[in-house]
Symmetry: C2
Subunit: 210 residues, 2 copies
DNA sequence: TTCTAAAATTGAGTCAATTCCGTTTTTGTG
DNA sequence: CACAAAAACGGAATTGACTCAATTTTAGAA
């Protein structure tokens, strides 16, 4: 009957607690020693559970990272809501502000190395729990960009005859690909990434602004 | 003195032969049993070399796949040259033709599963031989799209004041991201992928056509 | 042809993720 | 409280990528 979060009962509470301990231990170790460097055995010891138990909670090492990525991206989505609700009064700035929030918030908890692993796993195992969650997060971001565009169309800053769906995909796909290249190069700087994306979007802005 | 392909000498010939045998064995096994399913030991047996020898030729399992991917993408680049040299007389068709060639030629030797693995490895290990080669291939494709745009500008089909570099990146990044999503879903069809990309590019075409 | 150094091969050994299944804990019922 | 079924735990065993030191093969000089 109760599918979610019936926290009465010892079992459920212990379960939630173990989940939390595993995630915390893993997050700390991923940060400190890198994804590959963090051994499951070490995570288990740190979380005070056995190796077997970890695999009872997560299908594989990647799913542990996945849980952390989900938290991060959900915060990013949350931060983005403000921009969509109240966008800057100019198309270029509106896009730059929203994408800027995505980018700036993305390295709060996750290192570039963790992002690389997360992206790799999501393409490697698209049907694992994490793979599906990652795809859903991408879609949510695309949808938020589409929502911003719809908003700008409603305000009258973007031409009404523009295909908002296709435009949203274009903007997201480009940003995402640029972000992938960004995390692949440890030396790459956020400011350069944002500048490059602004330059690319300038073409679009010129095409769609009223 | 001779850096490349001095095929005289027993050693050099054996080397080339072993390279070929390893690649052929691996390609067949990746296709038949999938990347994960293909054990190094099996590849070694099939190629009639030892496990150690494989690691003498390739740094890791991913690099073997990398060698196959390189061959495939180089064929794609080659096929693309014809379009750049002689593009259709209309911006939309020109882009569609070039990207169409990329997409249609990409599943000749590689299965979707092999692509997924290749993409995953290239983000996971961006500094491995394969990781760097993959990035170079991406850049070569971007450059070819940019060359097509420059050609269209020269012909007078695309406005001269368009930032060709940024536009090339935009078009490539969008296609690449769409291709990634395409290989992540086994059911996705090439025709749908091309249609989706055409729809997205329509926005750009409207903006840049003279 | 013979010999030596350099290059290449080999496969047993290491390491870490994942699986498996016997044991322990929790729950609900009488 | 006692008990049986269900759920969760633990950690040893398995598996497969990758390493490394010993051995074999090749190249080139004498």
């Amino acid at each position: 009957m109760w599918q979610i979060a019936d926290m009465s009962g010892l079992r459920a509470r212990q379960k939630a607690d173990r989940h939390r301990r595993i995630i915390e231990a893993a997050a700390a170790l991923f940060r400190d020693t890198g994804y590959e460097g963090a051994k499951i055995e070490t995570i288990a010891a740190q979380a005070e559970v056995s190796v077997g138990t970890i695999y009872n909670y997560y299908q594989n090492k990647g799913d542990i990272l996945g849980a952390i990525v989900s938290m991060e991206v959900n915060e990013v989505l949350n931060a983005g809501r403000g921009v969509v609700a109240n966008p800057p009064a100019n198309v270029g700035d509106a896009l730059d502000t929203l994408l800027g929030i995505y980018i700036e918030h993305s390295l709060h908890y996750l290192s570039k190395e963790m992002w690389r692993q997360a992206m790799a796993i999501s393409t490697q195992l698209p049907d694992s729990p994490f793979g599906q969650a990652y795809t859903a997060l991408d879609r949510a971001l695309t949808e938020q960009i589409r929502a911003l565009i719809a908003r700008l169309q409603a305000i009258g800053l973007v031409r009404r005859d523009i295909d908002g769906q296709a435009l949203g995909e274009l903007v997201f796909n480009n940003m995402n690909m640029m972000f992938i290249e960004f995390v692949k190069r440890d030396k790459a700087k956020i400011a350069e990434l944002r500048a490059a994306i602004r330059r690319q979007n300038r073409i679009l802005v010129a095409a769609i602004a009223v």
